[in-house]
Amino acid sequence: MTDTLASYSLLAIYSAMAIYAIAFIMFTLDLARRSAPAPVRLEVAVGAATAKRGSTALLERLSTDAPAAAQPKGPRYLRAAFALTIVAWVLHVVGAVLRGVAAGRVPWANMFEFTLTATAIIIGVFIAVQVWQDLRFLGAFVSGFVLLALGIASTNFYVDVVPLPPALQSAWLVIHVFVASLGTGFFALGAALSVVQLLQGRRAVGKATRLGFLDTLPTADKLENLAYRVIVVGFVFWTFTLIAGAIWAEHAWGRYWGWDTKEVWTFIIWTIFAGYIHARATRGWRGSRSATLAIIGFGAVVFNFTIVNLFFKGLHAYSGL
């Protein structure tokens, strides 16, 4: 039973990866299209009639047919890519949930499961954020990153379902790890925005001339503000993660802070993002310097999860590998 469910879970994940791959290509094509702006508009109109299928077609046709909404909701590739991302995400979530059902607990108790869930949350945050701001142009970055992470996780980190060791049997597993993943999701978006911000900054001074799509994206200034807002949310979650981790460590290991490698890196990440927040308020540090900090911070998050888990010694030896 457990094994059957676990294999269904894997099947869902593989399907999600296939669709993410197509979405990634579409997102990239969209960016390529934007580099050559003139013919796009025409193709959107023509393509709209032929390329749409399924339930979303109705919605979109309605909006394009209505005279007031003559502006399409974004180029054709972008809409298709985003729709595919949502489909893949649903499969992704189903995969994660099945894994949890198979194990009879939350699906984030080892590296494979954590990658599964954290990437689902990254995409979830990416989708949810669109309600607030159209950030679909980050799709190539986000879907590419998640695809890569899932690929590595399912080939290198995969472990069979095993029961939880006593130290992990705690409500804090649910809270601490979930909030950490949420924080990671926001930091990932923040880093993506910061990358675009840096490119935009370079283009503004006459570099990065070949990246024509940048002209269709928000200005560096606006990107910086968006990144800031996303990152402070991530920072709050991260602060909470740090504190929840300390409380849990106190229960499970008998001390709330012991400079274990994982604790050290969580602290380093927290300090980098605290630095980021101050950088934005410091003359001479706004702009590309603070963007660089945001990217370094997310780099440290990824490092903390991969390199620290796999190669560093410490109490957090729960990768299951």
Partner: protein, 547 residues
């Protein structure tokens, strides 16, 4: 974009930086640093200014992040002393350099401490003037209404049929209900014609709470470490331990620890029950639960039954008692040739792997004709390997075997130097049972007995109780660390997500006496929702005039 547009702050009584994207009450180093007079006080003041500037705080934060890295790359004395020994053996050239830099104790090293202490001095130097500034701001009136609202954020107008006085009064009521502090101003005319409103002082309050609570965390962590203690003790089923210095196997007091901090109590281990996975073939033998049933006795009170589990420590006498390890403690009974019992007690064996193959060291300095040392392996579920050696393939007691090598000679226990109970130095001993001796290693199941080599007597494996290793912690400030940590989060959320904004409503008399209401706002800090908020106020005010 509200926060990227340089806005005009017309409130002349406000001494803040002109750029509204900058945080409230935030002090930056002046753009051009005036060369200080080179006298001592001038120099100090200059230094203090630099230290408490935002830029210094930023650099110190980044430096702290960098400085924390080495300690994660190299094992630390505090968390992994054996790792340090091993690292030094493996890196004979690098280790002394790292040692002299204090890298093996990074987080208590001079340089690491210097960075965070400087950071906190900077923080204090920052928080104090900001608190004063905020205190003044809390009692100041909302600023005068700017002459031209049309240049501000979310500017919008509505025509109205209300008379000016009613419009002003109802705007004031509405804004108050929305949590604004209000003040009515008159421009050229003598009658009041505008309301100035400000809200979100909590943002700065939150920021100050956040930064102050960080200082609180640092102080309480220090106090707890100074006055607390931690101790470790192995307890075998059927035995008890008392919370006194003498009964700990190892003990780490804080700097200001005194014996009086040890509250007298005892904990007896009645039983220890592990549960191992039996169904899932991928995880056969993996522990899924540990339960230690104990009887605790506080001085002068009745004994009390309790349970300690991983993730659920026992609270007793101002300490927490954690269940951190467990294993087997076989009871070996040794008799001399006359049949007199000279030794009968459990020996905790150190587990070596997941199936609890364990190393046992038993020392008998007295009672027999010769001093006898035993170095053994204990296999809870023993299986014979093809080469004749034993191994354990399950952690529970299914087929236990204790295999003992024996040595005679001076065990070195009489010279008064403390020796490690868990190791036996066999260099100067004679092996009398084992691979190198005539007699093979002695293998015992439960209840088995055997002759000791050389007619020394007999040995029996009497019983196999389990042991647990308990960690006892006393940290008088732990609760306060938590309180400050919660304040950190609360302050952070408040300061990041409560918008601080000003809103003005103004009555303008147009041609033909038609009254127009003007509305506008000013963001202070990052405030993407300001324009929408102004619009909503205008809408509500013009539609349902409030009394």
């Amino acid at each position: 974009m509200a926060s990227s547009r340089p806005s005009k702050d017309t409130a002349s009584n406000d001494a803040e930086a002109p750029d509204s994207t900058r945080p409230q009450g935030h002090f930056d180093a002046p753009e051009t640093i005036v060369q200080p007079k080179l006298d001592f006080v001038g120099y100090l003041r200059f230094f203090w200014r630099q230290l408490t500037s935002m830029r210094t705080a930023l650099l110190l934060l980044l430096l702290l992040a960098l400085a924390a890295i080495p300690g994660s790359l190299v094992p630390q004395v505090s968390s992994d002393p054996n790792g340090v020994v091993q690292y030094k053996a493996n890196n004979p050239t690098l280790a002394p350099v790292l040692e002299s830099l204090g890298v093996f104790s990074t987080y208590s090293s001079v340089w690491f401490s210097a960075i965070y202490l400087l950071l906190f001095v900077s923080l204090i130097g920052c928080v104090i003037p900001r608190t004063k500034h905020h205190w003044d701001a809390l009692r100041a009136r909302p600023p005068k209404t700017p002459a031209r609202l049309s240049r501000l954020e979310g500017f919008t107008t509505r025509e109205t049929t209300m008379d000016a006085a009613t419009a002003i009064a109802s705007a004031r009521t509405l804004l108050r209900r929305l949590g604004y502090r209000t003040e009515v101003y008159a421009s050229a005319s003598s009658a009041p014609d505008s309301v100035s409103a400000e809200r979100g002082y909590l943002r700065e309050t939150g920021n100050l709470v956040f930064h102050t609570a960080l200082i609180g965390v640092l102080i309480t962590v220090g106090v707890g470490g100074g006055f607390g203690y931690t101790g470790q003790r192995v307890v075998v089923e059927g035995y008890a331990f008392n919370n006194s210095l003498a009964s700990y196997d190892s003990f780490n007091p804080g700097r200001f620890f005194s014996d009086g901090a040890l509250e007298p109590y005892s904990i007896a281990l009645d039983s220890f029950t592990p549960v191992y996975e039996q169904k899932n073939l991928n995880a056969l033998g993996q522990p899924i639960d540990y339960t230690a049933a104990v009887t605790t006795t506080l001085r002068g009170q009745k004994p009390h039954k309790d349970v300690i589990k991983v993730n659920s420590p026992l609270e007793i006498g101002g300490t927490q008692v954690y269940l951190l390890g467990n294993g087997y403690a076989p009871v070996v009974t040794v008799k001399d040739p006359n049949g007199t019992v000279v030794f009968s007690q459990p020996t905790a064996c150190l587990p070596q792997n997941a199936n609890l193959t364990s190393i046992c060291v038993i020392k008998l300095p007295d009672g027999l004709d010769k001093q006898l040392g035993m170095l053994g392996f204990f296999y809870p579920t023993s299986v014979a390997q093809t080469d004749g050696t034993l191994a354990s393939n399950y952690p529970d007691l299914l087929n236990p075997i204790l295999s003992l090598n024996m040595y005679t000679g001076d065990l070195g226990l009489d010279n008064g130097v403390g020796t490690n109970a868990y190791s036996l130095n066999t260099d100067s001993l004679t092996e009398v049972a084992g691979l190198k001796a005539d007699t093979p290693a002695i293998r015992l199941g439960v209840g088995d007995s055997a002759q000791l080599p050389g007619g020394l007597g007999t040995i029996e494996l009497t019983a196999i109780p389990r042991f647990v290793s308990l960690d006892v912690h006393h940290d008088p400030a732990q609760v306060w660390v938590l309180v400050f940590a919660i304040l950190v989060v609360a302050g952070l959320v408040t300061s990041l997500f409560i918008p601080r904004r000003r809103v003005w409503v103004k009555v303008v008399t147009g041609k033909a006496g038609v009254l127009t209401l003007e509305y506008a706002g000013l963001a202070r800090g990052d405030d993407p929702a300001l324009a929408a908020a102004v619009e909503e106020i205008a809408e509500r005010h013009s539609q349902q005039p409030l009394a």
